[in-house]
């Protein structure tokens, strides 16, 4: 069950295909770098890796402008990388350094990058969905043409904030795109233990929000649905909802595979690894001759170098001073 990428009858250029790939690759290599350095135990914060889910961040964010807002969760690395955040400042934050995006006070769960439209990510499930509706409300009031996107998981669909946010966004026709990354698990709880059905898009439909359920590992499909949703939002036609079905390869938190602990069946992971969003797309663009093998290797080498620098910057940056503990409590 592989992925058949459909680029016919779209305006997707070769250049865009390469952007999709390079964005996903960057996220994958960023996460793999964390796995590589984590055993040293000098990155002292929890990490929630998004390996296996890269196509969603890439497909959505490639439709957004720099000034558009995104809100995300504890599993935010991919979204931030895709939105244009500097991997060096992200790594510094993960190492708890004052040079990091949140001056070392947020860690991996709490990224902020206002220049790229990231006004803070929340580690409370469903917590940031209304914030995205709020920035969309501000955009509607200011008529600044910005679009807000909210990334969240399937677990968030059980929270009150999910329903409250969809209700209000639809009521006021706000320029927001809801992106549900349905990976079927909330930590180790399967969706059937938590929801009466697993068609999350149906919940959004009940709020009269245009909703689709798509293969979240298919970057082209995500890109195309996000394009329509962003256009709709920018045209003042209100919110859209995209349920992207996907799978998280690693455990809820940390660099390990949780099937080893008996959390989830290995067979399930194997099926989804065969549907790897990065590898299947790599095969596609090579076959499509969108990129040469040599260019591809160069791309990987460039990202690897950037990541080595990022880790080195993170490790060697200074820790915050003790006195900074009490700074920034109030603006």
């Amino acid at each position: 069950m592989t992925i058949s990428y459909q680029v016919e009858n779209t305006n997707i250029t070769n250049e865009l295909l390469i952007q999709m790939y390079s964005t996903m690759l960057k996220i994958r290599m960023f996460e793999e770098k964390i796995i590589e350095v984590y055993p040293v135990q000098d990155m002292q914060c929890p990490v929630h890796l998004c390996i296996g889910e890269e196509a969603i961040a890439a497909g959505v964010c490639l439709n957004l402008k720099k000034e558009d807002y995104i809100f995300s969760t504890h599993r935010n690395h991919g979204h931030c990388v895709a939105k244009g955040s500097d991997m060096k400042l992200m790594m510094a934050e993960f190492y708890g350094k004052k040079t990091g995006y949140s001056k070392g006070k947020g860690g991996s769960m709490h990224m902020v990058d206002p220049e790229n439209g990231i006004l803070g990510t929340s580690a409370i499930v469903g917590g940031a969905i209304p914030l995205a509706v709020g920035t969309a409300l501000a955009s509607a009031m200011k008529k600044d043409g910005r679009v807000s996107a909210a990334f969240f998981g399937d677990g968030a669909a059980e929270e009150g904030t999910f329903h409250e946010s969809l209700n209000f966004a639809s009521l006021k026709k706000l320029p927001v795109v809801f992106v549900c990354e349905n990976n079927f698990y909330a930590t180790n709880s399967y969706i059937s233990a938590r929801q009466p059905h697993n068609d999350i898009a149906k919940k959004a439909e009940s709020y009269l929000i245009p909703s689709v359920q798509i293969d979240g590992n298919d970057v082209v499909a995500v890109y195309e649905e996000a394009r329509k949703a962003v256009e709709r939002a920018r045209a003042g036609k209100g919110p859209s909802f995209i349920e992207c079905r996907t799978y998280r390869w690693k455990g809820h938190v940390g660099p390990d595979c949780d099937y080893e602990k008996g959390c989830r069946p290995k067979e399930e992971l194997d099926v989804w690894m065969d549907r790897c969003p990065v590898k299947t797309f790599e095969d596609f663009i090579l076959k499509n001759k969108s990129i040469s093998e040599k260019e591809l290797q160069q791309l990987k080498a460039n990202i690897a170098k950037e990541l080595d620098n990022a880790v080195s910057y993170g490790r060697t940056s200074p820790l915050p001073d003790d006195k900074e503990l009490f700074e920034d409590v109030y603006a």
Binding site: S102, K103, G120, G127, A138, G160, N167, F168
Partner: protein
Amino acid sequence: MPWTKVYLDKEDFEKASKLADQGLRGFTYRDAIKEALTQMLEKDESVFVMGEGIDDPGGTFGTTTNLHKKFGAERVFDIPIAENGMTGVAIGAALAGMKPVFVHMRVDFLPMCMDQIINHAAKWHYMFGGKVNVPLVIRSIIGRGWGSAAQHSQSLQALFAHIPGLKVVMPSTPYDAKGLLIASIEDGNPIIFIEHRWLYEQIGHVPEKIYTVPIGKGIVRKEGKDVTIAATSFMVYEAMKAAAVLEKDGINVEVVDLRTLKPLDEDIICESVKKTGRLIVADTGWKTCGIGAEVVATVAEKALKYHRRC
């Protein structure tokens, strides 16, 4: 100053009406709040007001009546019954540069918003290294009426004062209500602005111009030498009445109106206790882990040596 005086009732105010000769305007607490909102909506286009039923004829005890007509439903609007989610919406708008004022008819509705208030609004500036801030004012109303029962009569200020990142403001006079509300809207932090429902009819002098009262500063409402009563909100009036009664018994009471619970004006309390050597705290909330406990602890830490045995 005339506007720092607490008028215990309308009769008292009328006695003081000679002050009108000085060009000072008498205004109710209700109208002071409404004027603060009106002037800030006029002055700053990033200000907007939202809340359940704020555009109905009652207008939140008369504090928002017809504002939606004056400023349009885009800037003054009714909302779904979704307190937590709508708090998040207000936070998001604030992050994008707006200055929302979220109005709740009762403080009893705020427990539903605790996730957004505590985990989001209060944390956002600190947790992101000061890169973003949340200029959000949450107005809410405390105090018992008749037969309002346990879910419509609480005074939950201490819950919020516990949380770093929040400021808690409780004006007692019309002058302070306007000045502190304007200061709150301009402050740039999430502020819990608490009004006691029995204060709306209170009259005091309120200047027409836009002015601010500093957040974090208490005020001595009545000077005295024998005992300090540190009071909050409506209890300032009760303290003034008690002071008048005790005066007849030769006990000279100093009344300190805390005005802001967080940050607490520790200096004004300690200075007063230094003088009187005795302290009573009068708050509308519960005793256990309450504002009273906090004020007493502050004095124990910083001014215990001035304690005088009765």
